[in-house]
């Protein structure tokens, strides 16, 4: 199946109703299975199956979100934000005071990009380094 068709199918399935179930055999690590039972006993979940479905759903949502962004950038490469821009957004959403110092965030992003594979550097790492730079220069 071509990638675009596969993504469309994934989204359709995720957006569809939860009517109908399919039996499946999944080998769960024993510790996780027992932890799920304990969580149910504690009243935090209805069943181990509910926890498994929720976990699977959340992971698939994350995959779909990533794939949609990648598809969008394939068509509109100019829309892809830089690592510094994403780190700036992360600092703003977190209410991190370093958001007020975009030059520090850009400096930290440049440091991270120098040392990591482009595209794999995480924005939270940049915010953390920007905060370290801020702290070291104010000390």
């Amino acid at each position: 199946m071509p990638a675009d068709d596969a993504l469309g199918r994934l989204l359709t399935l995720l957006d569809g109703s939860a009517e109908g179930t399919a039996g499946t055999s999944v080998r769960l690590p024993a510790n996780l299975r027992e932890a799920a039972t304990v969580a149910v006993d504690m009243g935090y979940a209805l069943s181990a199956a509910e926890l498994t479905v929720k976990g699977l759903h959340d992971v698939l949502e994350a995959v779909a979100q990533r794939a949609l962004l990648d598809q969008h950038y394939k068509r509109h490469p100019q829309d892809r934000p830089s690592l510094a821009e994403v780190a700036q957004a992360a600092a703003e959403l977190d209410g991190d005071p370093v958001a007020e110092e975009p030059a520090l965030i850009q400096e930290a992003a440049a440091l991270v990009e120098e040392r990591e594979t482009p595209g794999l550097a995480r924005p939270d790492t940049v915010v953390m380094i920007a905060n370290l730079l801020r702290w070291s220069r104010s000390a």
Binding site: V63, Q65, H72, R80, V86, L93
Partner: protein, 141 residues
């Protein structure tokens, strides 16, 4: 200062996200990237929410023909159900805000915390959050 579990979008944030020609489009994508990167590390870490009345105001029809991929970016509807409508009605009465802003406020109150909101109207949202006693990070579009 904490990473939000919920991020609520207001009208201008939605418009910027949906319109590739919008001056803040790329900036909004950077915010979505934050959620996407955190969700890949920990599934379900960040939920993106759009109050349905905001979606109406912004003219966002998820089923519109030719809807771009960005239209389906896992921004979940926060509906105006009974409890939310009651909360929004109280906000509208007390603060004389628009229906959409009142709905945003009600969603802020109900969303998993910590919560952030991306808005073009920082002052109004600050007033709403303060009235509700909700600790929200308010981010300008």
């Amino acid at each position: 200062m904490m990473a939000p579990r919920s991020v609520v979008l207001d009208n201008e944030a939605v418009s910027a996200l949906l319109d590739p020609g919008h001056t803040k489009h790329r900036r909004m994508l950077a915010r979505i990237e934050v959620a996407a990167s955190r969700n890949l590390v920990r599934a379900g870490a960040v939920e993106l929410l759009v109050p349905t009345s905001v979606r109406v105001e912004a003219g966002w029809d998820r089923q519109a023909a030719g809807a771009a991929p960005v239209n389906r970016l896992r921004v979940h509807d926060a509906p105006l159900d009974t409890a939310t409508a009651n909360q929004a009605a109280r906000l509208r009465r007390d603060l004389a805000v628009s229906v959409a802003d009142a709905h945003v406020g009600a969603v802020l109150a109900a969303a998993a915390k910590p919560v952030a909101v991306i808005t073009s109207d920082v002052a109004d949202l600050r007033r709403i959050a303060g009235h509700l006693g909700v600790q929200a990070t308010i981010v300008a579009v």
